[in-house]
Amino acid sequence: MALLNVENISKKFGGVCAVDGFFMEVEKGEVVGIIGPNGAGKTTIFNLISKVYETECGRIWLDGTDISSYTQEQAARSGIGRTFQNIRLFNSLNVLDNVKVSCDYKPRYSLIEAILSLPRTIKGKRETHEEAMACLRAVGLEKYALEKPGNLPYGMQRRLEIARALALKPKVLMLDEPAAGLNPEECAELVRFLKDITQKFDIALVIIEHHMDVVMNLCHKIYVLEFGKTIAVGTPEKIQNDPKVLAAYLGEEED
């Protein structure tokens, strides 16, 4: 069985079917892309997998475990890391603390140990610090550890979101438009970076992206959505020549 297995999930908003019977399989080490016009239901799929929305129908399996009935935090703990389309960093925390938050659910020390500053607290704080710094180094932000995220440029904020998700030690990392607002050189750099972390952290990557060169250069498999329905699945070459996809993307293809 695949690492992440999504079977027939759907989501309705009022009468509108945002996602209609979506299936997906993601293998370890694989990079999977989800593309489609705006409003096709891509972010809704992320929200369903990361349990922001409850699963009303269908099943989600992660590494052989059924996570369909998990809460959002259980899904995160079991290995679903994600970023948000409109960056959602904790603005009152500094860069390092933003990453540390991902380690904080681990019961390294209890509340009583914390307020009495017992030995386990000091050890726990050190472990958290080292893990968080490792993630910051992986995305090249260690120099900005004590800055507030609001002071960083847009691209770095996106990287910080990735670092924060990596600190969860995810099995599957889901990135919602990681290349939004980047120029072509930065996109190429992002592709290298993402390939690198996929190997280094031994994870599967699922991305939503509008930049076709990023998707085509990075992904092993692509799902194309339109109005909540999957209209095509396959390798980048296959997708590029699919007549249905061309129809959906008419006028938008050469982006």
Partner: protein, 285 residues
């Protein structure tokens, strides 16, 4: 020492424990509670009644007073912390009213509106001052731990906090119980300091006073809360304001802060102890 100054110091210290008690809840987690004085009331009354009616020793009264606050916090927190933040604030306000109502109703035990008197005087000046210092230290350690960070993350963005494995409800419960027990402790000290209790001492004005002090000092700054408590308690005393005039002064200050300096007096600044510096330099390496 002059009696007046002594009583001023002791009441300020007890207020300080109260304000610091809501810091993790209101300042850090962003849950505005307008009923934390209810926990002070419970701590005060439980310990006071045990001492007066059953003649229990002080330390046992203190323990049971604080524990009963923890218990009440579990019962009240379980349903209310699931609600939206503004509903929680409202329910906290109603909790204050409800506790006062219960204290008035069961007059045979609590003394009702006439009050509960003859509590032995056990809160001495050194005990109160040490308690205040220790409480501030405990809350500072809370702030610097993973619990403090989780609180700030929840305040900033609950949905994102959940996406990174934080059980928001469980965390809020922990903070609520923790802060309520500190408020209860302030209540115990208060009961054994005043030797007399009546329900009106713990109305919603006291709860909102705490929130106001906190807001004035800067919701993210413990140092700010401590400073503002000291300034705002001592100043009206020196100026000998009537209680309404004092409240008018507080509210005008808050409006000025909200309008012109929304992060409060100190914003996020904290007084740092040198130990932190090592931590900081290590971060750079």
């Amino acid at each position: 020492m002059n009696d007046y100054i002594a009583s001023l110091i002791q009441t300020t210290c007890i207020s300080l424990i109260g304000v610091v008690s809501i810091f993790p809840l209101t300042g850090m987690t962003g849950l505005f509670s307008f009923g934390q004085a209810a926990y002070m009331a419970v701590g005060a009354y439980v310990s006071g009644i045990l001492a007066v009616k059953l003649g229990m020793p002080f330390w046992l009264c203190l323990l049971l007073g604080v524990l009963s606050c923890g218990l009440l916090a579990i019962i009240i927190g379980y349903p209310t912390l699931k609600l939206r933040k503004d509903y929680f604030s409202l329910m906290s306000l109603c909790l204050g009213e409800a506790v006062t109502a219960v204290l008035n109703k069961f007059g045979t035990i609590t003394g009702g509106a006439a009050g509960l008197s003859n509590i032995p005087k056990k809160s001495t000046m050194p005990l109160i001052i040490i308690s205040a210092v220790v409480t501030v230290a405990l809350v500072a350690l809370f702030k610097n731990s993973r619990f403090g960070r989780m609180s700030l993350a929840i305040k900033a963005d609950e949905l994102a906090a959940k996406s990174f494995g934080i059980n928001v409800f469980a965390h809020k419960m922990k903070v609520y119980i923790f802060t309520s027990m500190i408020a209860g402790y302030a209540g115990v000290l208060y009961a054994f300091y005043l030797t007399y209790l009546d329900p009106n001492l713990f109305g919603w004005t006291r709860s909102s006073e705490w929130v106001i002090f906190l807001f004035f000092g800067g919701v993210n700054s413990l140092t700010g809360s401590v400073l503002s408590t000291i300034i705002l308690t001592v100043l009206p005393e020196i100026l000998r304001f009537a209680s309404s005039a004092r409240i008018v002064m507080y509210t005008v200050l808050i409006l000025l802060v909200i309008n012109f300096k929304p992060n409060g007096l100190l914003g996020e600044k904290e007084l740092r102890i040198p130990v932190r510096k090592q931590f900081r330099t290590r971060t750079r390496g």
